[in-house]
Symmetry: C2
Subunit: 360 residues, 2 copies
């Protein structure tokens, strides 16, 4: 079959890691007789440079008409930088948020997995790691504080800024269903995270999760408060199978969870709409400091491409092929610099792509 | 001098750890010629049982008329429990929130300190810990999502819940000033945490922090996004001196920060109003499972009492006395079960109180 993939190369190391993912996809296509057609589109900083806005209607339309979107890391510096003084429509993030909303990508799936071979890179002690952990964060992606009404005004001479956090039961139900579906294929345990001792939206969240849970008698679940979850991730990550949470909590907790694996350069993510459509991107950032040096780790993007085959194209065998090739490369001792350790062979971005392709 | 202390014993292990803190305070008073008068007040679950509501007007008035409030841990179970189905006015947390607002406790200070003697209890690897870390989280406590308007309604047959997040420049300024003041007495570095790539309230936060920073040329500062901060706490906690953040982010990050110390039973906290008034409580929870067994660690509460002497009563020498006594007990090898390790002497709650008093 022929699949149309819209490709957003992104910022920083984005282009070089996406290039390797595309090469790997083509290698898998050749093996299996499928064909992928790529259409490059621009979003964020690159789109502002080209068209004066972070996402154009045409780009959104092209993405919508594709079978899936493959994206590199996007965004710039996360500390002091002047972007937050730009008007909203000119900020690169506005493009990403408009893309998520415009494509209806409500379910963000971020696996946080401890690689046996990379255990020593995990910042947590061996006693805490135990026999390892393997969780998935299911983050709601098109509601909550990210898409609420907001305003900044001067009231009686005082600046006042306001954001709002709204969820309706349908938004909660569809993400909860995805979480329970995924749990069913895994260790059958969902921890739903909220702040129900403070927020009305969290209390509705709990109610709807409990309603959905009734249809999944084979899946156990519990509620956990977000502050407690932030602690438990550090203290006892093994207890988690599927974490289900709203947009802002998911942003914070998924980054914390990916960091405790010690291998953020290895973690893929998927953002799914109703049906088969999805956007696939690495969990890590765009690391502008190492861009263009052929040292970035392309594995997270390559594994995101594998997720695309699995979730959007139903090509499970081909997804397995790529995932096995990545495992094999690790076993054979090849490492990019971010995951390098004693006795291993250090390779660059393109060489890592080559090594994975050889094993497909 | 005579100081009036309102005492909220709290839930779970609260009463037994507060008892030890009061004994330690009295020992310090005797040494120094000061006197503390205690008035017990009820809040949360205990107040619901006695008066049918989590905080009465009289209790608030008594607290307001005291010189400071000393509180044990409050709250029950943090996982599945039926409290979130209670009407808001009957939830124990409502008492705590009303107390914070009613007393104007806008500045929550939570130190997260790695005790040299307890390094092995830290869940992070020795390489990450390095020569240790010592940070303070300055959390805004009376604004944001915690005190916004909220509603749960049925709109066109669909349940919709809404919370709102508002900050005005005055609320941001006063907490930023506290953070920079504290940084000045420490390592002179503030990291202000927000989500300015999404929230209007965070963009106002950044602007006001930058304005305040102009008055502190001796203090360096940077902005950090909340998702990045959740990662950095695990990956490189040594970089932090003072973290300044809004209410909800502070709730999540301070719990994460306290957990990475591995000694949450040791961490105190202060919630300050304008002027000298404050409420002092341990950072840890009420641990109902070990309540009444004389095994809980009273040190966090004892150190909170020391903070009270320092911040509300200007009794620095007496605060030092208590803190030194705690350090001495640890050096001498005494441990409650939560911080126990090989070769140390395990003691109970009351015995730990005795040992600290002996060293005052
Ligand atoms: C860039 C930013 C708006 C985005 C988010 O907060 O969702 C990012 O942190 C992410 O998690 O994908
Ligand atoms: C009990 C709860 C309302 C409270 C909060 O969220 O502020 C607690 O978690 C805390 O941090 O003091």
């Amino acid at each position: 079959m022929n699949f149309n993939v819209a490709v957003i190369k992104g910022d920083g190391i984005g282009p070089e890691i996406v290039d390797q993912a595309v090469r790997v996809l083509d290698a898998a296509a050749e093996k299996s007789g499928h064909e992928f057609t790529y259409k490059q589109i621009l979003m964020g900083g690159a789109s502002i440079d080209a068209y004066g806005k972070p996402l154009t209607e045409e780009t959104l339309e092209t993405a919508r008409n594709s079978d899936a979107v493959l994206m590199g890391s996007i965004g710039g510096n996360t500390t002091t930088s002047p972007w937050y003084r730009l008007p909203a429509e000119l900020r690169p993030e506005a493009g990403l948020l408009a893309l998520r909303k415009g494509l209806g990508l409500f379910a963000n799936i971020r696996p946080a997995y401890l690689y046996e071979e990379l255990k020593k890179a995990c910042p947590l002690r061996d006693e805490i790691i135990g026999d390892g952990f393997d969780m998935v964060i299911m983050r709601e992606l098109t509601g909550g504080l990210y898409f609420g009404e907001r305003s900044t005004e001067v009231v009686d001479g005082i600046r006042v800024a306001k954001d709002s956090l709204t969820y309706n039961e349908n938004e909660i139900r569809r993400i909860a269903v995805k979480a329970f579906d995924i749990a069913r294929k895994r260790k059958k345990h969902v921890i739903s995270v909220d702040k129900a001792n403070v927020l009305d939206s969290s209390r509705l969240w709990r109610q709807v999760v409990e309603e959905v849970a009734k249809d999944y008698e084979d899946v156990t679940y519990e509620h956990m408060l977000v502050d407690n979850c932030a602690m438990q991730l550090v203290n006892d990550p093994k207890q988690f199978d599927v974490i289900l949470t709203e947009n802002m909590f998911g942003d914070i907790l998924s980054d914390e969870a990916s960091m405790i694996t010690g291998s953020i350069g290895m973690l893929s993510s998927a953002s799914l709409a109703e049906g088969k459509f999805g956007l696939y991107e690495p969990s890590h950032g765009s690391a502008p400091d190492i861009a263009g040096k052929d040292i970035a780790n392309p594995i997270a993007t390559i594994l995101s491409a594998a997720m695309m085959l699995r979730y959007s194209f139903d090509l499970d065998a081909e997804a397995d092929m790529i995932e096995m090739a990545v495992k094999k490369v690790l076993k054979d001792g090849y490492r990019t610099v971010d995951i390098m350790s004693d006795g291993m062979v250090q390779v660059g971005t393109k060489a890592m792509g080559d090594l994975i392709i050889e094993r497909i």
